[in-house]
Symmetry: C2
Subunit: 410 residues, 2 copies
């Protein structure tokens, strides 16, 4: 099968991005609505393409991620529709000031340009990522897992039609036609065209992209999140928060993976936990083992993001030891302290080095929608550019605009 | 010679960074003053170390960069002193809001952690970079050119003493003791310890770091800057601005390298330029050659940052062609339009995709001090994290702090 090359696709998308950067929000919202309309009107062709992918897929473990059904397609359309309600951020001048020589300097929000996304065989990401990019004025080059190729190409075809309906270049959305290992590697070196590369998927995918990409990467993802029960905790609240953080949706990155508990309340709290628990496998350190029935935890356990109904447990002698333990083992995602003590709450907030630090609340709130951003690109666990839940502004940058009247430098 | 390994140095600096992140600005300013005092009190030992480097250096071209004299050392001390006058940015909560469930979410400014800097044989960078990092609460791992090793180690020794005087860990500043090619490569893979890597130096160094680093990089640097003389320009102003941008300091990145001029004013403007000029080599396209005496410009010329008294010249038929030409050939650093026309000024501002876009002013103002930031880390030509002149905030990130009272996710 002869494909259009990824370089040609990137080139076309980059060109489209310069047009898109200068469109009005009215035009971009119209494109989002046209995409929603088109998805809703073409359920059958999408389901047919998806059926081909499902038939070809040999990995049963992947089928649920790969599967599209009416509801999932309508959800994608709905997400595109909802985005139109969010305000435009492009053109905003965050601040402007005047220099003694009369120069007026402002910082204006502009799109990144061309956003690359590498993801696994989840066709819903194709639409979700494309509409977030369009809303923020970015073209995108999408490279999904090869098992979802038919679905992705059909979704791309419909989105390109919708873009044309809205008077925008169809190359604003490009789905890589040849999702081979080679094109993934090529994409990581496309510095000429790509302004950023965002891997979305498991830890292995993210690691590969971080290690091999020369294009700047926004790392999203892994969460080995902690709940710390302080010696001054309200234990009932602690149990509610821990239980919510661990069990409400154990497969996601903001779920709690590890409990740290102060030795002064360890016996009471662990017994309350053991009494409540029948579903979570508890893996405790030595002291925990002497209090409740549990599996022994290894040092490896304390570094592990289970994404499952498993909880590691560590007993500490002080808040300092808790902070040290968490900063050493966490993935810098989300951590929470349960305490009634003012000084300890502030100490934890200041000294824990993670993207989101909570006092008396579940780590499960680390999420663009729960934070009130109205959309989510992902959750950044890196420190550059964006950290924590990313709203649309994470897909933008700024440029300095300077108004002069003939100033020259002395 | 047996060196402490770069991994050991990085590990120590990372540990120091967690202490530094929780210090007060009073402590950090005290360290800056102690460094300034120490440099001023130890001119002789610094000059002796520098003399060893100069004696060993075989590259005469590099001698001026390598050279320290009393004035240069006092300038470094003065830079450290001046930094103490700038306000602290750590701990600032840029914004805070309340969610319907009562969670209060704020975004607090925190240091990046451990900053790596790779630079050439300029010992002044050792102090300049270290004090910027300290002011913003970051530890640093500095890897200067091997030709400056004696100077750098002596400066590091004095800074470490000063840190101890101020009650801070001496490992806040680490100068790589073995600046070999191997340690440079190692440093680019130190993701475990380094939060960011900033290359400072020529295009070759920056390219090597961008291509090989798995640590996130902030790219600084190259500037192929344009001045566009619009058909509605004040030609006298245009000549003043162009002359300033080209000749005031031709070796720097914000100097103008290329003139773009509208054909309607090309003859008048180029003749004015030719009359004024006796020092700059002019390289023009075909139409330019028919108006003034100049060297023919190749396509290569239009992509070149000369950093010298050379100017490429292109005549265009429209502002659209000017914008297209500039966006194609520039390094996205700084560009300026000279015009009296309102619509053209706004069009240029909107459509030029560079870190700094000027109306009627010299590109030479793209500089942290000229922008009023009080300090400069460098000028970012990338889009992620920081774009354009970087003040201290470019060395920080944020973390979300969330105040709850037992909230769990439904």
């Amino acid at each position: 099968m002869e494909h259009i090359s990824i370089v040609e696709q990137a080139k076309a998308a980059k060109k489209a991005s310069t047009i898109l950067a200068n469109t009005s929000i009215t035009q971009r919202n119209a494109a989002l609505l046209a995409i929603a309309d088109s998805l809703e009107a073409n359920l059958e062709s999408i389901l047919n393409a998806n059926a081909k992918d499902l038939a070809a897929s040999k990995k049963t473990a992947m089928r649920d991620r790969l599967l599209l059904n009416e509801q999932r397609i309508l959800d994608m359309a709905q997400a595109a529709r909802k985005l139109t309600a969010l305000p435009d951020i492009l053109g905003n001048v965050d601040q402007m000031w005047q220099r003694p020589n009369g120069l007026k300097i402002g910082q204006q929000r502009v799109p990144l340009g061309l956003v690359g996304i590498i993801y696994e065989a989840r066709p819903n990401v194709t639409v979700d990522a494309a509409v977030l990019c369009l809303k923020s004025g970015n073209a995108c080059l999408l490279r999904g897992g090869s098992d979802a190729l038919y679905s992705n190409l059909e979704l791309a075809r419909l989105m390109k039609q919708a873009l044309q309906t809205a008077g925008l270049p169809e190359a604003c959305v490009e789905v890589v036609a040849d999702p081979s290992r080679e094109t993934a590697t090529q994409m990581m070196k496309l510095n000429t065209y790509l302004d950023v590369l965002i891997p979305r998927g498991g830890a292995g995918l993210i690691k590969t992209v971080v290690e091999n990409s020369t294009v700047p990467v926004i790392e999203t993802g892994s969460g080995n999140c902690h709940v710390y029960i302080d010696e001054f905790a309200d234990l009932e609240m602690g149990l509610d928060v821990l239980w919510n953080a661990k069990t409400q949706r154990p497969s996601v990155c903001n779920a709690c993976e590890s409990l740290v508990v102060h030795e002064k309340v360890a016996k009471d709290f662990l017994q309350m936990l053991a009494q409540k628990n029948s579903t979570v496998e508890l893996r405790g350190d030595e002291r925990t083992q002497s209090i409740i029935d549990c599996t022994p935890a290894t040092e490896e356990d304390f570094y592990t993001e289970y994404n499952d109904l498993i909880l590691s447990i560590k007993i500490v002698d002080s808040i300092e030891e808790a902070i040290e333990h968490i900063n050493t083992h966490s993935t810098k995602h989300s951590e929470s302290i349960i305490t009634k003590d003012y000084a300890n709450s502030q100490k934890f907030l200041q000294e824990i080095s993670s993207a989101a630090v909570y006092i008396n609340a579940s780590t499960r709130f680390t999420d663009g929608f729960e934070f009130g951003f109205g959309a989510e690109i992902g959750i950044s666990t890196q420190k550059l550019h964006a950290r924590g839940p990313m709203g649309l502004s994470a897909l933008t940058t700024t440029k300095y605009i300077i108004y002069g009247n003939g100033q020259i430098r002395q």
